[in-house]
Every structure is written in structure tokens, then in C-alpha cells.
Symmetry: D2
């Protein structure tokens, strides 16, 4: 297969979108094309253009687009009138998924979780986790972290750090405080120690938390990585203070960091784990809240939702677990590819005429170029070359590479070459004052 993207030059239907779609649309502004089909790492627009996907639906397409194994499983299911929608009734598709998830993911890792199928959005999985933590503990306060991103509905949004998103609520967001993430105050300050000090002080004003909610790698917040040591300290703090530890593995999970769960490296066992994005494997809406069995104190239907049993997603998710996670070669390949990515990004950063820092872990990495304007200029230049890529971070200052985990080596290499070119072509002139 040809490994070079071939972008189109123009955007059809712009007027239609202006007239009929809300101004809230966002990705389509920086990447104004009309996409039609997609396969593996490639996205095709309606004018015959072809793009290499270094965004992967923000880590929703870890196995690429329309992977043939997943596609076939779904086609077969639909062909034979497999039930598509069943509220939360038991279905064959759900049974099979639960068995596969238990056998392929949980048991080999010595984990024991119960699955709660929430509404099929990450934010809904987080809302369910927060509700449960508050019910279990009888407490209201939740500790989240600087630069955390957990969703857009009011409960999850209160845990999200971004001021623009928060402002959208139109009301003050309550019952959550944001503590400094690992490394937030620089390498000399251990922010876990700061948190412990305040929780141990009955007069600190920090209410006893129902939960501590975190991402191990902050995908939207700038690819900040929590160290295993810090994660273990936070887990210990949660335990000591009667709070549940919730790991939001929506963006970093499903292999993105190199293991199925992002917290495996730290050897912690969260009380609750939220999953979504790549869980279905094919980009279908699907979310899951994993709960330690002893914490499963829900009343029947206490949290519900129409689409909490997306059978199509059960089918593709099961296929993805079988196809990828049952095979040790997949994980090994992933390690190798992550290493390759790290090296290439280090080289690109080193060649930068401005200070640039590689951030992230596994296959969720990027380069902090110190300025949102500069990062946007780079991603815009990359898009002109046919690379679908986005920024991250509080000032959008990180160029973020989220390639499919399954990308071919030569395609990946070519894509990174083009990215390097975009970096070079963007130059070093000062781009903004606010950086």
C-alpha cells in the first residue's frame, strides 16, 4: 500500500454546515474536509483525498478504522439480525463480552471487577463513578487534579480543569477541588505529600473526599504523566482517608500507554475504573465503569440510560479483545512501536529552534513547543501535508501524536517524517506573547 497521504485542497458543504450545525463544532474548523470512508490509519474524504490519522478519534480508534476483524464481526451480527438495542436486558452479545473481558483482561491481571454499563459516553461513566463513590462513602467532596479532563456533563465537568469548558456550565461547579498533579510544581515538590498534609489537618478546609479521581496520563491536559511512585502514594492516601480511588482510563486505557489499563505499570488497583473511547474497538459509542465487587451497592436502576447496552459495541469490543489482547505479540509490538515513537519525537524536538519537550508515555506522546499558536501552526502545516493531528494542553501548546496502535512501521515512519517537516516549515519566529 502507498504510505503517503494525499490531501484534498477544498472543503465542500461549508455553507450547509454553517447553516445547519451549531457553532459548537470544533475539529472541523481546523480540518475542514468532508470525510467519507476510512480504513486502518487512513481517512478518505469525499473528494478522493487521503489522510493519515494521527488523532485516532482522540484515542478512540486504537486499532485503526474499520479493522477487518471487527468489521466482519459486526457485519455478521447485523446480517443475522443480532439484537441492536436492548436497554439493559441480558443479551448474547453482552454475555460474550463479559466472559471475554473477564477471561482476557481481568483474570490474567488478577483483577476482579464488576461491570456497569453506563450510558455510552465517557462522561456518563465518570458520573456513575462519582455517584457510587458518594453513595459508598456518604461524602460529597471529590478531589480531581489540575489539567484533568473527565467530561462535559455537570458532575464530570466539575472534575474537569479547563476554564473554558467549565465556564460553559453557566452555573458554579461545586463539590470538587483540583489538587496539583504529579510534577505540577516542578520536580522538587511532591504534590502527593502536599495533599496528604492537608487531608490530615482537620482545619485545612479540605473536606474529607468521597473519591480521588485521576488520569495516569492527562490526554487533554498536556500529556502529563503520573509516575508510578506518585500513583502509589495517591492510592495510599485514598485508602488511609476512606476515599475511593477512581482511575479515569477513558483516553489512556485500552493499550494506549502500552498495557491494557494504564495503571498496570504502577501496580495499583483502583476501586473504580472508567472506560470508553477505544473499548468498542471500532469507534462505536460504549462506556463501562468497573467496580470492585464489595463496592457494588447500587440499587437496581439507580443509574440508568437508554443506550447502556450497545450490542454492536459489545460485538466489536469482544472481537478486539480476542484479536489483540489474547495475543502476547500485540503487546510486544506495542512496546517496540512506542519506543520508536519516543525516539522520533525526541529527534524532532531536538531539531527544534525553540525549546521543545517530549511528553507522554507509550503511544500517547507529543511535543510541548511552549506556545499554542506555534503548536497550531505546526498541526495546520501537518494537515496540509495530509496528517490529521491535534494539540493538547492548557494553552494547546503540545502537538499530540495519537496514531493507531496497529499502524504499520513504514506508514508510521513516513507520517513522522511529514510531522518533522511540519515542525521545520513552521519556523522559529515568536508566535504569541501569551505562551
Amino acid at each position: 500500500m502507498n504510505t503517503i497521504p494525499r490531501p484534498s485542497a477544498t472543503q465542500p458543504n461549508a455553507a450547509l454546515y454553517r447553516r445547519l450545525e451549531s457553532r459548537v463544532r470544533s475539529y472541523s474548523r481546523a480540518m475542514p474536509r468532508e470525510f467519507a470512508s476510512a480504513s486502518g490509519p487512513w481517512m478518505m474524504d469525499s473528494q478522493g483525498g487521503r489522510y493519515l490519522d494521527f488523532l485516532s478519534g482522540c484515542s478512540t480508534l486504537n486499532y485503526g478504522h474499520n479493522h477487518p476483524v471487527l468489521k466482519k464481526a459486526l457485519l455478521d451480527y447485523i446480517e443475522r439480525d443480532g439484537i441492536a438495542h436492548s436497554l439493559d436486558l441480558h443479551t448474547e452479545a453482552k454475555t460474550t463480552f463479559l466472559e471475554e473481558f473477564d477471561a482476557t483482561i481481568l483474570k490474567p491481571r488478577g483483577l476482579s471487577y464488576k461491570a456497569m454499563f453506563t450510558g455510552p459516553t465517557g462522561t456518563n461513566a465518570v458520573e456513575a463513578a462519582l455517584k457510587l463513590a458518594r453513595k459508598v462513602t456518604g461524602r460529597h467532596h471529590v478531589i480531581a487534579f489540575t489539567n484533568g479532563f473527565h467530561g462535559m456533563t455537570l458532575g464530570a465537568l466539575a472534575c474537569t480543569g479547563n476554564a473554558g469548558k467549565r465556564g460553559g456550565a453557566g452555573i458554579p461547579l461545586s463539590h470538587v477541588s483540583h489538587e496539583p498533579f504529579d510534577g505540577y510544581y516542578g520536580p522538587k515538590v511532591d504534590t502527593a505529600d502536599l495533599l496528604r498534609q492537608r487531608l490530615e489537618d482537620p482545619s485545612s478546609g479540605l473536606d474529607a473526599p468521597a473519591a480521588i479521581l485521576l488520569e495516569t496520563v492527562q490526554g487533554e491536559g498536556g500529556l502529563n504523566v503520573a509516575s508510578p511512585r506518585w500513583l502509589r502514594k495517591i492510592a495510599a492516601i485514598a485508602k488511609d482517608h476512606g476515599a475511593l480511588l477512581i482511575v479515569d482510563d477513558i483516553q489512556a486505557g485500552c493499550g494506549r500507554t502500552g498495557s491494557f489499563f494504564s495503571f498496570e505499570e504502577a501496580a495499583i488497583v483502583p476501586d473504580i475504573v472508567t472506560m470508553a473511547k477505544s473499548l468498542s474497538g471500532m469507534g462505536l459509542p460504549f462506556a463501562l465503569t468497573l467496580i470492585q465487587p464489595n463496592l457494588d451497592v447500587w440499587d437496581p436502576g439507580e443509574h440508568n440510560g437508554t443506550f447502556r447496552g450497545n450490542c454492536h459495541a459489545f460485538v466489536t469490543a469482544t472481537a478486539s479483545l480476542r484479536n489483540f489482547w489474547g495475543d502476547p505479540a500485540f503487546s510486544q509490538d506495542l512496546q517496540r512501536r512506542s519506543q520508536f515513537l519516543a525516539e522520533r519525537l525526541e529527534a524532532i524536538a531536538a531539531a527544534c529552534d525553540v525549546p521543545a519537550q517530549v511528553k507522554g508515555r507509550g503511544m500517547i506522546r507529543g511535543i510541548d513547543v511552549g506556545s499554542g499558536a506555534r503548536a497550531s501552526a505546526i498541526t495546520a502545516a501537518a494537515f496540509e501535508l495530509g496528517i490529521v493531528i491535534e494539540t493538547s494542553g492548557p494553552h494547546d501548546e503540545v502537538v499530540k501524536v495519537l496514531a493507531p496502535l496497529t499502524i504499520d512501521d513504514d506508514v508510521f515512519a513516513n507520517g513522522l517524517d511529514l510531522l518533522a517537516h511540519a515542525f521545520r516549515s513552521t519556523g522559529t519566529q515568536p508566535l504569541d506573547a501569551a505562551a
Copy 2:
């Protein structure tokens, strides 16, 4: 086709579900079977049993299961590697849906809305509507109604009346008050007048609202129907007091009441409309918030979400609009079938040995039997006969019939005969004290 259900007697995999799925599961408790496939009004379990679906995914399957036209459209799309997941990028599938929705639904009704694709759950569409109303008005308070149901995430949950669901929040729900719905205080009290009086009193303690949020038929709240006159009064109150009128058409929309939008009969034009459930036509996760163009003050990305462009759902939704709503015969058929349902339910209610009242409108109707225990006994008896059916109402006291809008007349008649039998067989002995 045989028109008689053929239920199985046993439930496989009960132990697996107890071990691996959270206690929060609900429908599977009253209907413990493992479903495998489904077609039109029929659901098949994994043991060869067949059930008639009078639940329709709580109005998510208005066109039945796996309708051949929708199924074909989806299969074709997947076969040709149609893009499945694209965040909120423009796609051919989205373009086509917008055009079709505009041409088939909006224009013929003289409506002009912009589409906001929220996370693909009803609750997310409601959260977006609330945010926007608060942003537009600069106010925080929202008026919802007794027995309203709007979702499970914190913003929408605050608008939901059910105490059990509300309690699940684990924190006090704020910024919303619940006013009495139409008819709540009996036929002599016009609750719209009560609301107007308090809004006009600067010392009533009722804060000026950002929005008035309502369902025209309360699907979960007991099939309470708002009269066109009351709806027009509420719309006028909203306008006079600078509040946005939000109609939550998630359960009552997409034809369930006889017209595409449930508010058409009242000739009101809401400022915002939320849709989900049957919008995709095939039960796929999909939600939409419709916004009057002048109110579209969102900043790009101010509300976002991973799955807000579910392309599979765009494809089936477009097919459903073309296939059903482009043809006047569909609407006429719907009127006839609704009338048939009304008559049969009146006959069943009249034959009841206890006071029983038919409620609802169009194809969302049921019988209030005055007791949750009695209603559950009836739906349990019906399930034994092969009817998938549920209750509704504050005390679960309404047996609710949500058949596919497209159900064949003879199948429908047979199903209602079986329901009548379930009513008769349940008898008239007093069932609970709390009723």
C-alpha cells in the same frame, strides 16, 4: 408470519451476570432471559423463545428491530468502509443526515433549527440544552415539572423528579425547581396560572428561570399528557419572563405521539428541542439538541464529547427519515393505529375489576391500575405470555404499551389480546397498601 409469541421458560447465565455485572441492572430482573436477535416487533432469546416487544427500548425502536431498509443502509455503509468514528469532523454521513433532516422534517413544518450533536445519550442532549439556556440568559435557575424525567447525569438529574434516581446523586441537586405539571392538582387548578403568579411576584422566592424544561407526554412519569392549551400558556410564560422553552422530545418524539415532534399538535415552537432514542431509527446511540439559530451562542468546543458524531447512526437515521417521514401514508397509518390502541386499552380498563384509567396519547399509552404491585403483577403475567412490557409512573402504577409504530395490525391485536388476558388473570385482590 406467525403472530403469537413463544416465550422460553428459563434463564441462562444468571450466575455469570450476578458475578460480573453490577447490581444496577434493572430490566433484566423482571425479564430474565438472554436475548439474541430481533426483527420488527419480535425479540428472540438464545433458547429459541420469541417475544412480542411492547417496550420498544422505551421508545427507542419506533420502527421495530432491525428494519430491513435501515439494516441494509448500515450494512452497505460498513461494507464500503464508511467512516464509523470521526469526532465532530464533517462526514458524508453527517452531511446527508443534515440535508435530509432539514428537507424532510424541518422545512415542511416551517421550522428552522441548528443541530448540535451532543454525546449520544439523551441526558447529554439535555445537559447541552441547560448549559446553553444558562449561557444565553445569564441565569442559573431552571423550572422542570413534577414527574419529569430528563436523565441521570448531574445537570439533567436535577431536572428529574424521581426521588430514587435523585438520591443516587449522593449530593444535593441544585438550581432546579419542579412545578406541578398540567393537571397535577386536578382538573380545576390551572398549574400554568400558578406558575405565572409566582414568576410575576418579585418576592415569591422563585428565581427568574433560564429555561422551562418539559416533556409534552411524561413517558417515565406516568404518561401524563400536557394539553395544547397548557403548553401554549407555558410557552407564553417562558417568553414573557425571558426564559427559554426546552421541549425534551427524547421519548415522545420521532412519531411516538402521532407526529414527528410531540409539540406539533400544540403549535408551539420551542427554543430548544432535545432528541435521542428513536432518532437513529435502529436503536443506535444518537442524540441531538436543536437550537433556534439566534440562540446558537456556543463557543467552538464549549460542549464536546468523543462520540458526538456517530456515523452509523447518521446513516440509519437518514434512512428512517426517508423511508417513513417522506411518505404521508406513514403518518396516516400511525393515526389509525393509535386510535386502535386507545380503543383496546379503554376496553381492557373497562373490564378491570378495580378502577383503571387509560392515559397517554398516540402510540404512548397505558393503563393506570392504581398500584405498582398490581401493575407489576400484570406485566409479569404478560411476560409469561411472551410480551415484553414495562410499567411507568411515580408508583410504577401504569402498565405502559410502547409497541413499534410499524407493528402489523394482526400482531398488535394479538398482543393486546394477550395483555387483556394478563389483566384478567391478575385478578382484583388488593395488592399493596401503599398504592
Copy 3:
């Protein structure tokens, strides 16, 4: 003593006040004089003017200004270095007050309350009551009423109906809803029944309340009077639903309605009673929250405050209880004077050229003239005649007479004559549109 007021014409020190006192000052705007001394119903300004006090510090001066018995008690106490400030230590002054309050007020009425001395403001007494109700019940929601007024600190302000005051919070006020007061929807709607219906409906959206908080006569809200029957219904609702009944007797208590507690006529026994204003007898800051002994679950110091033991106020309060409430003649006199007031106001209202309605009970009565502008014109005209008097109600449309309970008959009659003159002189021309 001469019974005719003799107002001054000018205001000294206006510039000083503009420069040094916040714009938040209010009464001084309508009555711009500098007051210097006061005795009984008379207020003297610094220019020799004399005014008849029909405001009584909003019912804080029920026994008039500087009553000689109270004054002597206080002078003696200060002379002998009686302790002025003692935090919440035991003091002779407090002991004596507790004994006197128990013997003179509680025991004769068959009541048994424990006294909590809160910070010496009514709002603080209300905050303490709310905290305790929430602690006792473990619930957060409080039911208050339309046009209720309970104070300006955030907890009490949330219970206050007035939109202007509420807006001052700068944040949304939460955890309280305002139900329609007795008669709010006219004589045909029993608002207690409406409340009961919603509380008995598990899907009404009205959270189970920690407390129902009310004034029996709404002093600021327009002199709306709750009937004994309605009060008993509300008390029964509170009991049936596990909520505490809190009567805010800050303005209506201490004899203002004819009995020491305003709720005596209704023969209800609140769980908590808040008092302030006339409790000290002499206008000194003093507040008290009375608690049924079985509800006294406070931890030591859980609610505290610097001035919660105002010994000067203990001394004058004790003197007022002894002097007035130990003597049955005081109560009889009060009944007679209330009757006289009612008759005179009815005559004034009947003589009005616009519809005018007498409202209130006991010695807290006024005339609703249907327009805030008209009412203000009347009180302004009265002030020109030497009457200190204010308005009340959601639109300030009630001219409110709050004379000292102890006012001499002839002085009272002369004052009411002058008020009648002010009514006449203000005429009948339409005064404002918004009325």
C-alpha cells in the same frame, strides 16, 4: 405630655454620610434626619424635632424606646460593673434570664424548650435552626414560603423570597424551595394541601425536607397572616414527613400579634423557634433559638460566635419579661389596642379613593394600597407630619403600622389621625404602572 409630633425640616451631615457610609444604607434615605434620643414612642432628632415611632425598629422596640424600667435595670448593671461580654460562659445575667424566661414564658404555656444563644442577629438564629434541622434529619432541603423573610446571611437568605435581597448573594441560592403561603393562590386553593400532595409523591421532584420554615405573619412580605387551621395543617405535614417545623418569630413574636409567641393562637408547638428583635426589650442585639430538648443534638461549639452572650441584653430582656409578661393586664391591654388599631385602619381603608385592604393581626397591621409608589407617597407624607413609618410587601404596597405595644391611647389615636391625613392628602391619581 404633648401628643403631637413636631418634625424638623432639614437633614444635617448628609455630606458626611455620603462620604463615609456605604450606599447600602436604606431607612435614612426616606427619613433623612439625624436622630439623637428617644423615649417611649417618641424619637428626637438633633435639631429638636420630635417624631412618633410607628416603625418601632421593625418590631424591635415593642415596649418603646428606653423604657424606664429596662433603662434602670441596665444602668444599675453597668454601674456595678456587671460583666458585659463573656462569650458563652455562664453569667449571673444569663442565669437570671433563663430562669425568668422559663418561669414567665415557657412554663405557663406548657412549653419545654432549650435555649441556644446564637450570634445576636435574627439571621444567625435562623442559620442555627437550619443547621440543626439538617443535622437532626440528615436531609438538606428546606421548605420556606413565598414572601418569607428570614435574614441576609447565605443560609437564611436562601429562605428569603425577595428577589433583590436574593440577588445580593452573588451566587445561586440552593437547598431551599419556596412554597405558596396561606392564601397565596386565593381563598379557594388550600396551599397546605398542595404541599402535602407533592411531598407524598415520590416523583414530584420535591426533596424530602429537613425543615419547614415559616412566619405566622409575614412582616416584610406584606403582612400576610397564616390561619390557625393552615398552620396546624403545615405542622401535621412536617410531622408526617419527618421534617422539623421552625417558626421564625423574630418579627411577629414578643407580643406583636397579641401573645408572646405568635403561634399560640394556632395551638401548635414548633420544633424550633427563632427569636430576636424585641427579645431584649430595649433594642439591644440579642437572638435566641429555642429547641425541643430531644432535638438538642449539637456538639459543643458546633455553632458559635463572639457575641452570643450579650449580657446587657440578658438584663433588659429579663426586666421586660418581669415587667410586662408577668402581668395579665399587659396582654389584655394589648388585645384592646389591637382592636382599636384594626378599626381605625378599616376606617382609613374604607375612606380611600382606591381599593385598599387592611392586612395583619394584633399590633402588626397595615393597609395594602395596591401600589408601591402610592404607599411610599403616603409614608412620605406621614413623615412630613412627624410619623416614622414604613412600607412592606413584594411591591412595597402595604403601609405598615408597627407602633410600640405600650403606646398611650391618645398618642396612638393622634398618630393614626395623622396617618389618615397622609392617606387623604396623597390622593387617588394613578401612581405607577407596575403596581
Copy 4:
């Protein structure tokens, strides 16, 4: 005068208090005597006992009890029927106070504030300050600090750090976060820098604040002293981020730290200052919120309250300003006495057999003995010797000396000798595990 206390041995009326006063009473538990009169630093109980006051009403009695000059002014005022209660009407007493405060306090310091007389409690002054800051900025969030204490009503309580007090609210406290105070994380971490970093990060989750609220010395929180440098940094942060700086000078103001305002040493000019406690000079309820003139955007009556014009307090406050603050000798004396206190406490701490640290500034100082149980044992021993004294700090681990500013040198020395004896007599055995 004899300089030695002479405590009584027993407590009269204990049964009466248990029966009639709420369990919420606190100081009377550790110091169970019935106090009757007081003069200067001395408190006399009803059994003839005499106590030296090292508590001073928690800094409410900075000039001692019943100071003859203040007492005479008040007696004269009452004798001549000076108006006691006037709502917020202009009065001679208020005029005189405003003139005196402006001339003696504000002008010599180059300050220009407008006075807002709030309800006469510190918590009410804080509530007013918070409301105004939110109104001025249109923001909701307030930044307070660890171990801060600002009052018990909901708005102020949300700013208070103590978990026990916070828990009393019965509802989650919102719209406030508590940042680490100066020195909270030890000498190497500049907590002002940490705050600035988070405010400058648009994704930190810390909402833009309406106000930064602090005490310069945390009286209840353990006598933590903010350095002038840190205060200037915080003032600069507030300015840079559009937040108002509110200094709560309720406990530390009125000379307690050596100057009238506690923030004079740091040469900052707060936007708002709250005062209460010693403002009246004689322990009478009185509170004041000082506002920069350009921030005085209140609507008339937007915050009000019955007792916001306590004329008796105006009279004694004016007398205290004239008598003490008009005379430079008073300030010089204060410096000398503070120095003496510091030296004596250092000596006591040095003699301790356990690690003990002197904290505080000016005449608000104490010794941290590392354990609440130990500190309580010391204050109990001191009380047996006739010293009224209390603890402070998150674990009540600081023995706090709050003597009158005006105490005679020999009385002070004798009292500190007795305190030293109490320290010695309490010994060094381990007292509690939680320390």
C-alpha cells in the same frame, strides 16, 4: 490592687444550664463558673472568686472589661435617653463615630474607606464582604486559607477551615477553596507562588476568584502569622487576577497585633476589611465592613439587618478611639508589652520538657505544645490557678494568651508566672496519640 487571682472552687446552677441551655455551649464546659462582674483584666464570679482574663473574649475586650472611660460614656448616653436602636437611620452616635473613625484611624494612615454597618457579628461582616466581592467581580469563587476562621453563617462558614464547624452546616459548603497559608508547607515552599501558578493556568480547575480572604494572624487556626512579604505577594496576586483582597481583621485588628489594623506592618491596602470584636471597645455587639469607595456598588438595603446600627456600641467605640488611639503613648506601650509577652513565652517554651514553639505576633501569642490534650491540661491547670485562658489551632494544640492590651505590667507578669507554673505542673508525660 492585689494582682493575684482567687478562683472559686465550685459551680452553681449547673443543673439549670443543663436543663435550659443547649448542648452547644462550649467555653462554660472548661471554665464552669458563673461570672457576675468584671473590671479591667479581672472577672469576678458569683461566689466571690476572681480570675485574670487571658482570653479577653477572644480579643473582644482589648481594653479590658468595663473600662471607666467607656463605661462613663455609655452611662451618660443611656441616662440622657440616647437612642439605643434606630435600624440604619442616621443618629448622632453614628455621626460621631464616623467622624472619629475617619479622623483618628483612617486619615492618619492615609486610608479612605466607606463604612458599612452590617449585622453586629463578625460573620455578618464577612458575609457582606463576600457578597460585595461577588457583585463587583461577577464571579462566584472565593479563595480562603487553611486554618482560616471567618464565622458560622453559611457564607462565612464556607470560608472557615475547621472540619467540625464545617460539618455543622449539614450541607456541602460551596464556592470556596482553601489554599495553603503562609508557611503551611514549611519554610521552603512559598505558598503564594503556588497560588499564582494555579491562577495563571487556565486549566488548573481553580476558578477565577471574586476575592482572596485572609487573616494576617490566624487567631483560631493556631496563631499562624503571615509575613509582610507573603501578604504583599497575595495582594499582588489579587490585583493581577481581578480579585478583591479582603482582610478579616476581626480578631487581629483593633490593636491586637500592635497597630490598629493588623495589615499596617505589611503596607498593603485591602479592598475590603472586616471588623468586629474589639471595635466597640467594651464587648458590645458591633461589626463593620470597610469598603474602598470605588467598590461601594451596593443597592440601598441590598444587605440589611435589624441591629446594624447599635448605638450603644457607637458610643463606646468612639470613646475607645478617642481614649486610646488618639494617644501615641498607647501604641508605644503596646510595643513594649508585646515584647515582654514574647520574651516570657519564649522562656516558658524553653523550659518545657517537650518541644514547644512560640507563635503569634504583638499581643496575640501562644505556645504550641504539640498536642491538644497537653494544651488543654495546661489551660485547665491555669484555670485552677485563676487564669481564664484557652487553646487554639487545628488540634487545639496552642495555649493562647489574649490578655487585655491595657493590662498592668505587674498583673501581666504575675499572670504569666502562674501560666508558667501551669506549664510546669502539667508535666511531660505523653498525653495523646493523635497529637
